[in-house]
């Protein structure tokens, strides 16, 4: 079972839910937690554990061979990302614009653009009290999160044996990075908060997972702030409400310390029970 935790809006509690759910779930089943918020991964603040493996994720970008190039000028016209520029008698490669499609490299008549590996970030595998935890971290300054997310998912499929439950902590938003993280999930939990911002961004996230055709449910965090509009929306759209997490200053304080919330707050423990039993019934 691959479960993705996503949200349109940032800061609604994705990581909190993913981490607490994973630690609780591992008591009864084998569980893998994957932090795919590669731009700002925070799962590691809550889950440390022993290092099992560290893998440098790389992508391929073209490397211009001045001696072989005939300066025919075709490659810049092929590259739809404008990652290749012909400047006088030089071909400039812009790594941040390259999507590693290999078109220039494989079509170059002079074989002057061999692909070479370029660093993308790191994939770290740790084990924490029986929980497998994989965290991916994008190198700062790189623009594209999606290739690292796809590689992280491929890494899990290749190197980790099947767990009963895989929990993916996704990046915020509804753009390509979020889609890369959730598209292969069996079920998506969308977590939001009962404010107009939370509702607006939840609607975008709902549209996204509907378009992807993945079954999903909602968790409402900070219940008690804002208004009830979000509950009306869920009802109207027949979206299952898996759990509500109350708004308490104490939760924000515990979170700020990197503490495991469900062990301290009974309502969160109950919410996790509800979510796990819902997920259990899906199998």
């Amino acid at each position: 079972m691959r479960l993705a935790i996503a949200s349109g809006k940032g800061g609604t509690g994705k990581t909190t839910l993913a981490v607490n759910l994973a630690i609780k779930a591992k008591e009864k089943q084998s569980c893998l937690l994957v932090d795919l918020d590669v731009e700002e991964p925070n799962g590691g603040i809550f889950v440390q554990g022993d290092l099992v493996a560290e893998h440098e994720a790389r992508r391929a970008i073209p490397d211009w061979d001045a001696a072989a190039c005939t300066l025919c000028g075709k490659c810049p016209s092929w590259c739809l990302y404008n990652a290749l520029i012909k400047l006088g008698d030089t071909i400039l490669v812009m790594p941040n614009l390259c999507h590693s499609c290999y078109a220039c490299s494989e079509m170059c008549p002079a074989s002057a653009l061999a692909m070479k590996p370029d660093s993308l970030g790191t994939i770290t595998h740790r084990r924490f009290e029986g929980l497998d935890f994989v965290e991916s971290r994008l190198e700062i300054g790189l623009e594209q999160a999606s290739p690292l997310i796809s590689q992280s998912l491929a890494y899990i499929d290749e190197h980790l044996e099947k767990h009963d439950l895989q929990i993916l902590d996704s990046p915020p938003g509804t753009a390509c990075a979020m889609v890369s993280a959730v598209k292969q999930a069996d079920f998506v939990i969308l977590i939001s908060e009962p404010t107009p911002f939370g509702l607006h961004d939840l609607k975008l996230a709902v549209q996204t997972v509907r378009e992807l055709g993945i079954p999903f449910g909602a968790v409402i965090n900070r219940d008690g702030i804002g208004n009830d509009e979000i509950y009306g929306y869920l009802k109207e759209e027949k979206i299952p409400l898996l759990a509500k997490i109350p708004h308490q200053r104490r939760i924000a304080e515990l979170y700020s310390q990197g503490a495991m919330l469900y062990k301290e707050i009974a309502e969160i423990d109950e919410a996790l029970e509800d979510i796990l039993s819902y997920i259990g019934r899906l199998r």
């Binding site: 809006k9 609604t12 700002e40 300054g141 999606s146 938003g173 911002f197 996204t208």
Partner: protein
């Protein structure tokens, strides 16, 4: 005209709430750009009207003409994004996986593949109830052109600010450190980072600051919810000092933030007695620097 970008690294730290308050504080001497294009929320407070909307085209999507396709499979074999398959008995392109590189278009021996320009979103220039123009956008689901749309929103906002003779362009950025954030930062004069006093807030601030440093833009820091973890707040103080980041007056944990959002207001409207002095002090400190 000075361009000030508000970012946070971590989501949900109060970027947008602060941005709305600052916009209201500056009254009419600014243009605001909402560059959090895949989860844009400023319009919920600004109530845009008389919008001028333009469709945003960026990138292409491959399409295979079934009448011309001879099932050779070269396109599927060469596609690095596994976007082409013949699972249905016919070679087709998966719109979600296609990156729009156009390689298949060049490879097809039968010229059966065409590339279609994609409408990936829309950008709008609107009047608002805050006397300033808001330039905002809507990105299509799963689109991978958010950086380009951000650049467009910023360019329009910049031109508008110049045309209207405004002193400031305030940019509300998106969370993270990837393409939309990089596009928001490019060309900015000043960066305000809004973080919160939590372990995650610190970790994300460190990463976003590394990025800001690459652009050599001076920055200031607002610590939101500063009182929920005094130890972390202290850590943030010493980080700011070490990195020569201007420390702005901090904001304590307050339900005024969600309350204001729920009423479609800025915190200056919901509780002016409490927030007017804070925002005005923050702005005074920023203004001295730019």
């Amino acid at each position: 005209m000075k361009e000030i970008v508000i970012i946070s690294g971590k989501g949900g730290t109060g970027k947008t709430s602060f941005c709305a308050a600052l916009a209201q504080h500056l009254q009419d001497d600014l243009v605001v750009a909402d560059c959090d294009v895949d989860a844009a929320d400023l319009h919920l407070i600004f109530e845009p009207h008389n919008s001028l909307a333009t469709d945003f085209y960026s990138g292409v999507l491959a399409h295979i003409d079934p009448l011309r396709c001879i099932d050779c499979g070269i396109c599927a074999e060469k596609c690095r994004f596994d976007a082409i398959s013949n699972a249905s008995g016919q070679y087709t392109v998966d719109a979600v996986d296609c990156e729009g590189c156009g390689y298949c278009y060049h490879l097809c021996p039968e010229n059966a593949i065409s590339l279609k320009e994609q409408m990936v979103g829309q950008y709008m220039s609107s009047e608002t109830r805050f006397e300033c123009t808001l330039v905002h956008a809507r990105l299509g689901i799963g689109a991978d052109n958010s950086g380009k749309l951000v650049a467009k929103v910023k360019a329009i906002a910049k031109d508008t600010a110049k045309d209207q003779g405004k002193s400031y362009l305030i940019v509300d950025g998106s969370p993270g450190i990837g393409c939309p954030v990089i596009a928001s930062l490019s060309g900015a004069d000043y960066v305000i980072m809004v973080t919160e006093a939590s372990q995650s807030g610190v970790s994300d601030l460190r990463r976003i600051w590394e990025l800001v440093k690459m652009f050599q833009i001076p920055g200031a820091l607002i610590i939101n919810k500063a009182d929920i973890n005094p130890t972390v707040t202290k850590q943030l103080h010493s980080f700011a000092k070490k990195e020569k980041i201007l420390l702005l007056p901090e904001i304590s944990y307050s339900d005024d933030f969600p309350k204001a959002i729920s009423m479609g207001q800025s915190i200056l409207e919901t509780n002016p007695a409490r927030w007017q002095p804070v925002i005005s002090e923050i702005w005074k400190a920023i203004k001295e620097r730019i």
